[in-house]
Symmetry: C2
Subunit: 254 residues, 2 copies
């Protein structure tokens, strides 16, 4: 669940309560038992991380309080989601990457998934999030929800990896700026690799947040995990996607 | 920090804001850099865990939502503490045992401390808590803050383990019921082992919460960690204890 879906991205520390409530209901109604949710930071994590320059790495002791504040902002957002899910009887448990994940230069190197596996076996839905985590080279790193979700999918042998964002999928150009942008419904691993090799000059828009999602998705695609990029801001799309029904969006295949 | 210190123990889901604020200030002023805080559940964790019979183990799928709700109640209490600590510029980070600790019949068997060690090295103060955690035999178990704190002290080679409670220390009988109860200022490992062997018939009150603390403390005592049981409900006691100053309380020694 993208940060732009669960928060008001332009208003600091403001949740999108309507989306949170609706998505909680859709997730509850879909009834998928083996599910891990991951959400981004949106207007919770990013403004504080930026204030303390955490995206450039950890280089000064004055950033320590920023590390703590960024994490706590993410916990606050996560709690809103968990409480909403609990109100729809989804047995959701907060799982903070900063407690069990270590990165090196921003990439996950250590991740102990014993507890997560246990939750999935027992029918509990772990809810994790983009977080600030210990980093071997940099001290601390921002770990994106995109990287985390793809890594969970890989390590736990997921069938599917679903990115819920605030547009319908991958477009030929940025649909928020270009009215002629067309949705790309099917994207193959070969297309993506070609696009990355040519520096994004093919006819897909892989800038900004979309680029990160696709780069992470590639690792999951390579082992045959089905990746879907769909619009979580529109009603019923996540419900239908979880139920395996056909929806508007981009399907990434090997 | 005992649940009876940071919450109003008799009022469901009610923090003791005065104690939380005062303790945050005392911790900030003490300036101890290598510190892990652990708090109990008080009126947050216990009522929900009791409602779903979680202390008797996990035996029915209807308890799953209770596991999730108990954890989330603890996250809510933990967030109040973290936010208070941050307001006094203590770089506090929430560390939930349910993300990295597994028990068997209620006793910790697996605990990956890499992330905690990293936080301590960087001057961050991890704040953990009694929690509901995966259990190999029972499905889930309630892990007490008392067990957790003693285990952290052992695994991380702490110099000291401090239990902050709502009375002055270990008494000859329950000071809340018996006006003739006297404070025991020094308690040796031998005294405690004798007491446990004789079923608590020696002249110390080791019932209820105190019993759990002392049983856990024994493991730390055996390897030479100094254990102090002091009154965290009274002003300045935690400040002085952290500073290594002499305070009223019970000192446990090998």
């Amino acid at each position: 669940m993208g940060g732009s879906v669960v928060t008001e991205k332009d208003k600091s520390l403001t949740p999108n309560r309507e989306n949170i409530k609706r998505l909680s209901r859709e997730i509850a109604e879909a009834g998928e038992k083996e599910l891990i949710l991951v959400h981004g930071g949106g207007s919770y994590g990013h403004p504080i991380a930026d204030k303390y320059n955490l995206s450039e790495g950890y280089f000064d002791v004055s950033q320590i309080i920023g590390v703590a504040k960024t994490h706590q902002a993410m916990v606050a957002l996560n709690s809103l989601l968990i409480e909403s899910l609990l109100s729809y009887s989804v047995p959701a448990i907060s799982v903070a990457p900063s407690s069990f994940t270590i990165t090196d230069k921003g990439r996950i190197t250590d991740m102990n998934l014993s507890n997560l596996r246990h939750y999935l076996e027992k029918g509990i839905t772990p809810v994790s999030f983009g977080d600030v985590v210990p980093d071997r080279s940099r001290g601390f790193s921002i770990l994106s929800g995109d990287q985390l979700a793809a890594r969970f999918a890989l390590e736990l042998g997921a069938d599917r990896l679903i990115y819920g964002i605030d547009v319908d999928g991958v477009y030929t150009s940025n649909p928020k700026l270009d009215r002629t942008a067309r949705l790309v419904e099917l994207l193959s691993l070969k297309d993506i690799e070609e696009n990355i090799r040519l520096g994004g000059s093919l006819s897909t828009d892989v800038t900004g947040g979309m680029k990160g999602k696709i780069q992470e998705a590639v690792n999951a695609l390579r082992v045959g995990i089905k990746v879907q990029i769909v619009n979580a801001s529109k009603p019923d799309i996540i419900f239908k996607t979880l139920r395996g029904e056909r929806v508007t969006g981009t399907l990434l295949v090997k």
